[in-house]
């Protein structure tokens, strides 16, 4: 049983990492193909530094990811507070059903419906370009919001509100009490929501594809590159991204287990 479980888990992990290994290997290819490995070189990595289109796209991706994560976290946290304060159950569940739509729906449908809206608005104001920075930002905020709300709301609901009420009784204003009492107790879930929003935005291709116009993010540039024959430079770029994420995750994990052992969980 023990061996079987190890072998099975190992096989699935090999399946998951086979394309990753291929990608890393061919990013060091001295030749220009992703089929034939000719020899080891770092040329593709050096080439990245001068690939302005890719660097520009990377900048766009980071700007959109940071802004959309920030805005959706603030708006989503406020929304969680407000939705829980709604008096009628009906209106609460109506708002929550609408919140679920972008998560349940296929990305392509969300992307297309947003594109139709932006084109419609663009035509209304006779804009030359109806798609660009603001439309892709709005789209990303829209698909990030449900994840922030679903991260914050359950925690907020579980928070002991008597502390908040005590603060009010002792003369705190509701706003001050929110920032001093409620916010610290839900800060972890807000942080989780923000991280989730950031990574979703970083990785999104389908919705950006329909809403970005000329403001191309990295996945869009990668898509355009894979339309033609791919050179190993895309692989080199992905290897770098992969390594960054790998280091971040290791760091996060060590911090997490340190925090766990401080709290006395011996794992």
């Amino acid at each position: 049983m023990k061996t079987l479980s190890r072998v099975y888990v190992a096989l699935i992990l090999i399946f998951l990492y086979a394309p990753v290994a291929v990608m890393v290997l061919f990013s060091f290819n001295s030749g220009g193909s992703v089929w034939v490995f000719e020899g080891f070189s770092l040329d593709w990595y050096k080439g990245l530094a001068t690939n302005t289109a890719m660097l520009e796209a990377l900048k766009h991706t980071l700007i959109i990811a940071v802004l959309s994560a920030l805005i959706s976290t603030v708006m989503g946290t406020a929304a969680s507070v407000g939705i829980l304060a709604l008096r009628k159950r009906v209106s609460r569940s109506a708002v929550m059903s609408i919140t679920n739509i972008p998560m349940m729906n296929a990305d392509i449908v969300t992307g297309i419906s947003l594109m139709l809206l932006f084109v419609f608005i663009g035509n209304m104001f006779a804009l030359k370009e109806s798609l660009g920075f603001f439309t892709v930002l709005a789209a990303h905020i829209t698909f990030n919001l449900p994840y922030v709300i679903l991260s914050v709301m359950p925690r907020l609901r579980a928070t002991d509100m008597s502390l908040h009420e005590a603060a009010l009784d002792l003369g705190c204003t509701p706003v001050k009490s929110f920032f001093k009492v409620v916010l610290p107790s839900i800060s972890t879930s807000i942080f989780t929501g923000a991280i989730m929003a950031f990574t979703l935005s970083l990785d999104d291709f389908v919705i950006s594809y329909f809403t970005c116009g000329h403001y191309q993010t990295l996945p869009i540039v990668i898509y355009n590159m894979t339309k033609k024959t791919v050179a190993p430079d895309v692989y080199a770029l992905s290897t770098i991204i992969f390594l960054c994420v790998f280091v971040l995750l290791i760091l996060y994990n060590t911090l997490q287990s340190k925090a766990d052992s401080r709290r006395g969980f011996n794992v």
């Binding site: 479980s5 099975y8 888990v9 699935i12 992990l13 998951l16 990492y17 086979a18 394309p19 990753v20 291929v22 990608m23 061919f26 089929w35 708006m75 989503g76 406020a78 929304a79 407000g82 939705i83 304060a85 709604l86 008096r87 609408i98 739509i101 349940m104 729906n105 296929a106 392509i108 449908v109 969300t110 297309i112 419906s113 947003l114 139709l116 809206l117 905020i141 829209t142 919001l145 709300i149 509100m161 009420e165 509701p174 990574t199 990785d203 291709f205 389908v206 990295l218 990668i222 898509y223 894979t226 791919v230 992905s238 991204i241 992969f242 994420v245 995750l249 994990n253 287990s257 794992v267």
Partner: protein
């Protein structure tokens, strides 16, 4: 929250306005496009045209169903075996499963071409053994493989989460009452992990049925899926927006129905996300 003041309700206002503009209105516009022609007058002719896309719809559903079943069959034992590891190791395996998800899915899909192509790694290995070359790329099998590969973490993670929440004392009680390991799996673990399975199925089926990148890259031009048709029509020009909206609307309804069916199977009280 007992003090439901007007002020605390008001902070939801920006979000409610936002979701009305960017979630509800776009869908209304899509429905409007689906029921009008490019001059803007009401018509059902878009729906008459969908006969042309019957095959694309059929293939999309077929491939997505097959991919979902394969993913489930691979993921369920994976999640079960994961719970047998030490907690620290479980966390590491979780991390390893999530790590490829952080890499752009376009690249992950594209790398399979290097493996599957006629001059790719598998065929090179086969020719070394004196077999082949086999046609692996540009086949329905390659498209399904791509779907399974891209979306398998979405199946493993919810099932694993559901399984790791199962109280060990339940399993001990089952053993004490004479269950062998198979009936423990069938009568305790399976029912309790069902919510994870349900949410995994939805999370794999929805992106599979609506994909357009995987089929373009791994299926060549032989496998036109509904996502490909929608993407193609929208990129061809505004005169096709109406038909494309109709197709999107049908796809959305299809997804809605399958999600509702799945939730019926699961816990009726709460929708698992």
């Amino acid at each position: 929250m007992n003090k439901k003041s007007f002020g605390s309700r008001l902070v939801a206002a920006p979000y409610i306005v936002w979701s009305a503009i960017f979630i509800v209105v776009p869908l209304i516009i899509m429905v409007y496009f689906a029921f009008t022609n490019d001059a803007g007058s009401f018509t059902l002719s878009n729906f008459a045209q969908i006969g042309k896309f019957k095959k694309a719809f059929g293939l999309s559903i077929l491939y997505a169903v097959i991919a979902t079943i394969i993913t489930l069959l691979l993921s369920y034992p994976m999640a079960y075996y994961m719970t047998k590891f030490k907690i620290g190791h479980q966390r590491m395996i979780m991390m390893l499963i999530m790590l490829p998800m952080w890499m752009n899915f376009l690249i992950r899909t594209y790398s399979w071409i290097t493996i599957l192509a006629n001059t790719g790694l598998i065929n090179k290995f086969l020719s070394f053994l004196g077999i082949g070359p086999l046609q692996l790329i540009n086949t329905p099998g390659a498209v399904i493989l791509g779907m399974v590969y891209d979306f398998i973490p979405y199946m493993i993670l919810p099932i694993y989460t559901a399984m790791s929440k199962i109280d060990n004392s339940l399993l001990e009680a089952a053993s004490d009452l004479g269950s062998d390991s198979w009936s423990r799996i069938r009568r305790v673990i399976m029912p309790l992990s069902l919510p994870g399975v349900i949410s995994g199925i939805t999370m794999v089926f929805v992106p599979s049925v609506s994909t357009f990148y995987i089929s373009q890259k791994l299926g060549g031009n032989k496998t036109l899926l509904i996502g490909d048709a929608i993407e193609y029509l929208f990129n061809t020009g505004p005169q096709y927006y109406n038909v494309a909206s109709t197709l999107s609307l049908i796809l959305m309804v299809l997804i809605l129905i399958s999600t509702l069916i799945m939730n019926k199977f699961g816990d009726d009280e709460e929708v698992v996300i």
